[in-house]
Symmetry: C2
Subunit: 517 residues, 2 copies
C-alpha cells in the first residue's frame, strides 16, 4: 500500500535502465590488476587480491561495456595513471583473459593515509565489527575529525569525480555499482552530477544497529548515512544488516521507513535496502581443487598428519581480531581437556594470513595467537604429536588442498559480513566435512541449518561443538555437506551479480518496478 | 487492527486488576532498609541506598497494601530473617516514617556470588552498557554456564518463590512489580504458580539491540527473554530500549511483533513493551537543598573556588567505566588547550563515588581516572589553581550543594539507563546552569532539547561543548534551565509510578485495556 504512495513521489528518469546495452561503472578500492616491474625493468601485470575483486573479475563479461574505477596502489600503477593523464585505459588480464577497461585514481599520500589508515581502517572496520571496548576506545580527537573531512570525504570526492566523469562521457546513462566501506559518501558526489544513474553501494562487512553507530558523532555518521541514501539500492549480505541500516536512518535521520518494502523516500527518491548474499565461482574453484598443485598439497597433508586415521580440524583466516582465532584455540584446548581420548587423534591446522600489522591491535592479536598456540601445544602435545599446526601464510592452493581433506572446518568469527571460506570448503571437500559455523557470520543465514552452530564468545560451547563435529556419524555428515554444497552451487557468484543487476535495471525500466523481496 | 486480534487471544483473568484495594508486591535487590548493630549491640535501622529504592520508598503509601521483597545483605539482616522464619514482617522506616512490610530473602553465599558477582555484575551490566572489547572479552567458560544455572536461575527461583508465596497468601490476586537486571527470569517462576497476577519488570539499565545480545549463547539469552515475556509489561526508561527489546524477541525467539502496539503474543498472553522515564522526588530534593547542611557546603564551595567569578563545572558519578569519566577529563584538557584564556577562571569538580573495586575493570578504571587528573592538573595548573578537584566520596548533601552553585553539569555517559543526576541538578541549581548531556543517556529523550549535546566518544566535540556551555549567554542559559526543570517537575517520580500502575490496573480491569502509547 505505502508502495504506491512512495512510487508516485519517486524521481522519474529520462532513460530506460533495463536497456541491456547500458554501460556499467564499477568502483572498488582494490584494483583487478596491479602493475609492477620485473628485474629487467619491464612492466608486469598482476592479478588483484581480495574477495570483491575475485567476485567481480570475470563477471564483467556479461556487461555491454564496463569501466572499473579503482585506486592506484603500486609505484608502477602511478606511472600508468600518468601515462593516461588520469583517464581510463584498456588492459589485458594477467592471464591474457578478457580486456578490462580501467580507471585508476591516484590519491595524494597524505589524503590516502587519513582516508584509509585512520577512517576506513581501523575506525569504520572496528565499529562495524564491534571490536571496540568502549570504556577506553576509540578516543575521537581533532585528528579524526580532520581525517574524516580532508581524508575520507576528500578521497570519496575524488573517486566520485572519476565515476561521474565516466558516466558523463556516456551521456549520463549508466548503471553504477559502488563497493564497500571505503566509499560510503561517493554516491552523494555522483548523484549531484549525474542525477539519472541507477546506482547501488554494496556493504561487504556487517552493518550494526543504531546504538552502535553512536560511536561516531553526527558530523561523521550523518554524512555516511546520507551518502548511502544517494544510491537507489543499498546492498548487504543479509536481511539483518539491511534492517539495521534502515533502523539507523529511521533513528538518526528521522526518516520514515516502509518496512514492508524495506525502503525510504529521500528527496523524492525511493531508496531500497536489499540483501544479496555474495558467493564464489564454483566451477573455477573446483578446477583449482583438481589441479596437480593442489593434489601435491593433499598428498603431503595426508602423509604428514596421518589422514584419515587422524582427524583434521581446519581454519583459514586473516589474523583479524574479528575472526576470533584465540577463542577458537581455547575451545580446542578445552575440548582436549574434556575428551582426552582425542589426544593424538586430531590435528588443528590453522592457515592464517598476517593482516594489518601496522595497526597495533592487529600486531597485539598476532602475539596472542602465537602465545595461545604455544600454551596449548605445550599442555597437550608430546610423543611427536603437535595439537595445533600454525601456518602464517597465504597460499590459496595449499588452503584448497586442506579444504579437500579436512574433517571439520571451524569458522567462529565474532562478526563477519559473509565468510567465503565456509562456501569454498563445502564445495570441494572430499571427507564429508562438518562445518562448525558462527551464528554471527553472513554465511550462517544460508548454511546455518547444515552446520554445527558455534556461539563465538562461549568457549565451553565451542569445545562441545568441536567434539560433536568430530564425532558426527558419517551419514549425517554426508547429508549436511551435500545440502550445504547444494546451497552454494545454487546461489553462486553469477547469481549474486545477476540479482543485483536485475533490481537495478528494473528501477526505471517499467512503470511498476520489480524488486526481489 | 492487529490489536483486536491479539486481544481476543489474550488471557482472561478471573479478577479485576483495576481494584484499588489490590495488594502490590515489589521486588528489588536492594532493600529499603538494612539492619545493623551499634556499639552497645543494639539493632539499628539504616535507609537503603540506590536509585530504585529512593524512587520507590515513599511511593508505597498510595497502595492499599504493599509487600517489599528484597535481598538480605548485612549480618543483622540475616538475623532478622531468621527471627521471622524467612516470612514477611513489619518495620518502621529509619526516620520513623510509614511502616514497611518487608520480606528479606537470604541466599546462600555461594549462590549469591554466582548470581551477583559473576552473572549480574559484570556480565549483564557489561553487555547492556556495551563495555566489552569483544576481540578479547568476555570468554564464557564452564564457570559462567554453571553460574548462570546454579547462581542466576537458582537465585531468581528463590526470589520468585518468595514473591509467589506472598501472592498466594493474598488469594493469588496482586499487582507484582519486579525491578532490574538481577531478576530477568523471576516472572517465569511467579507466573507458573500465580497465573493471574498483573506483573511487570522494570529494566533500569540500557537494553541493546539483538546483535549485542549474541555475546550470550542461546542457553543464557533465551531464558532471559522468555523470563521477561512472563510479565504483562516489560518496562524501560525509553522507547529506544523498548524497541530494542522487541527486536530481540523478534529475531532471537522468532516472535511476531505488533509494532503499532509495541507488543507480542506469547502462549496466548499479550505482552507489552512500554517506556516510563524514571524521575526524582522534586519536593523532597528541594527540601534537602534548602537545609542548613547543604547551605554550609554551598558557603565553603563558594569561598574555596571563588564563585561566581570563577565558573564551576561539575560531575557526580560512580567510578563506573560506563560513566565515561576519563574522556570527560580529556575533553576538559583539550578545552583548556583550545581556550587558554579560561585557565584560572574555571574549576572542574568531580565528585566520584568509588564503585565495585573488587571487579578488575573497575579498579583499573579508578587508576586511569587518578592518572588523567594528575596529568591535566600538572599540565595546566599552577599559581594556586588546580584545574580539577577530584573527590572520591559519596556525600549526598555535598553533591546537592554543588548542584546549587555549578555553572555546567557534565553528564557524558557512554551508556546510561536514565541518569538521575541530571534531573536532580536542574531542579535545585541557582546559577542558571547549563546541562551538557550525552545523547546516550535515557534522560536525553526528555532533557536533550534543553541541553548542550555531548557525543561521548568524541573528545574534540566534548571540548567544544564545554566551552560553548561556559560561554552561553545568560538569557539562553536561564531559559534552557527553566524548561528543563519544568520537564522534571511535570514528570516526577510520582508520575512515573502512577503511569505504570495505571497500565497494570487497566490490563484486566475493562473489556478494552488502555495503555500509554
Amino acid at each position: 500500500m505505502g508502495k504506491g504512495v512512495h512510487m508516485s513521489q519517486s524521481h522519474t528518469s529520462p532513460f530506460d535502465a533495463s536497456d541491456p546495452n547500458l554501460p556499467v561503472i564499477l568502483l572498488s578500492h582494490r584494483a583487478p590488476v596491479t602493475f609492477g616491474t620485473n628485474e629487467a625493468g619491464e612492466r608486469t601485470i598482476n592479478r588483484g587480491a581480495g574477495g570483491i575483486v575475485t567476485a567481480l573479475t570475470g563477471l564483467t563479461e556479461q556487461f555491454a561495456e564496463t569501466v572499473w574505477v579503482c585506486a592506484a596502489d603500486s609505484d608502477e600503477d602511478r606511472v600508468v595513471v600518468e601515462e593516461h593523464d588520469g583517464e581510463s585505459f584498456d588492459v589485458a588480464g594477467p592471464h591474457g583473459e578478457q580486456q578490462l577497461h580501467l580507471r585508476m585514481v591516484q590519491i595524494d599520500a597524505d589524503v590516502q593515509e587519513k582516508f584509509y589508515g585512520v577512517i576506513s581502517n581501523p575506525l569504520l572496520w572496528f565499529i562495524q565489527h564491534g571490536l571496540y571496548g568502549l570504556a577506553t576506545a576509540p578516543d575521537l580527537t581533532q585528528r579524526d575529525h580532520d581525517a574524516f573531512v580532508t581524508g575520507y570525504i576528500a578521497a570519496n570526492a575524488e573517486f566520485g569525480d572519476a565515476v561521474a566523469s565516466e558516466v558523463e562521457k556516456r551521456g549520463g546513462r549508466a548503471i553504477v555499482m559502488l563497493h564497500d566501506y571505503h566509499f560510503y559518501v561517493v554516491a552523494s558526489f555522483v548523484r549531484s552530477r549525474c542525477p539519472d544513474v541507477a546506482m547501488s553501494l554494496f556493504v561487504h562487512i556487517p552493518w550494526p544497529g543504531p546504538d552502535n553507530w553512536t560511536v561516531l558523532p553526527p558530523s561523521m555518521r550523518d554524512p555516511i548515512f546520507a551518502g548511502l541514501l544517494a544510491n537507489d539500492v543499498v546492498a548487504f549480505h543479509t536481511d539483518r544488516f539491511a534492517r539495521n541500516f534502515l533502523l539507523c536512518v529511521q533513528e538518526h535521520l528521522g526518516l520514515q521507513v516502509d518496512w514492508s518494502d524495506m525502503s525510504v523516500v529521500v528527496d523524492g527518491r525511493h531508496v531500497r535496502a536489499r540483501s544479496y548474499p555474495i558467493s564464489i565461482d564454483v566451477e573455477a574453484l573446483r578446477a583449482v581443487a583438481a589441479s596437480d598443485a593442489v593434489q601435491a598439497h593433499v598428498d603431503v597433508l595426508t602423509t604428514q598428519y596421518g589422514l584419515p586415521e587422524r582427524q583434521l580440524i581446519l581454519r583459514v583466516d586473516r589474523t583479524d581480531p574479528s575472526k576470533n582465532i584465540v577463542r577458537g584455540f581455547r575451545a580446542y584446548d578445552r575440548m582436549l581437556e574434556l575428551t582426552p581420548e582425542l589426544k593424538g587423534k586430531v590435528v588443528f591446522l590453522a592457515m592464517l594470513q598476517p593482516s594489518r600489522q601496522d595497526v597495533s591491535e592487529y600486531a597485539d592479536y598476532l602475539q596472542q595467537i602465537g602465545g595461545v598456540v604455544a600454551e596449548v601445544n605445550a599442555r597437550h602435545g608430546g610423543d611427536g604429536w603437535q595439537p595445533i599446526d600454525l601456518r602464517l601464510d597465504n597460499d590459496f592452493e595449499f588452503a584448497v588442498g586442506a579444504y579437500r581433506v579436512c574433517d571439520v572446518l571451524l569458522v567462529n568469527a565474532l562478526a563477519d559480513g559473509m565468510n567465503l571460506v565456509s562456501k569454498e570448503a563445502v564445495v570441494v571437500n572430499e571427507r564429508d566435512m562438518v562445518l562448525a559455523l558462527s551464528e554471527n557470520t553472513g554465511a550462517f543465514a544460508e548454511l546455518g541449518e547444515h552446520a554445527v552452530t558455534v556461539y563465538p564468545f562461549d568457549i565451553e560451547q565451542q569445545a562441545h561443538a568441536l567434539a560433536e563435529a568430530l564425532a558426527m556419524p558419517l551419514a549425517e555428515r554426508r547429508a549436511h555437506l551435500r545440502e550445504a554444497a547444494g546451497v552454494v552451487v545454487m546461489n553462486d557468484v553469477q547469481q549474486w551479480l545477476s540479482a543485483q543487476l536485475e533490481d537495478l535495471r528494473a528501477l526505471r525500466g517499467h512503470g511498476v518496478p520489480r524488486f526481489t523481496p
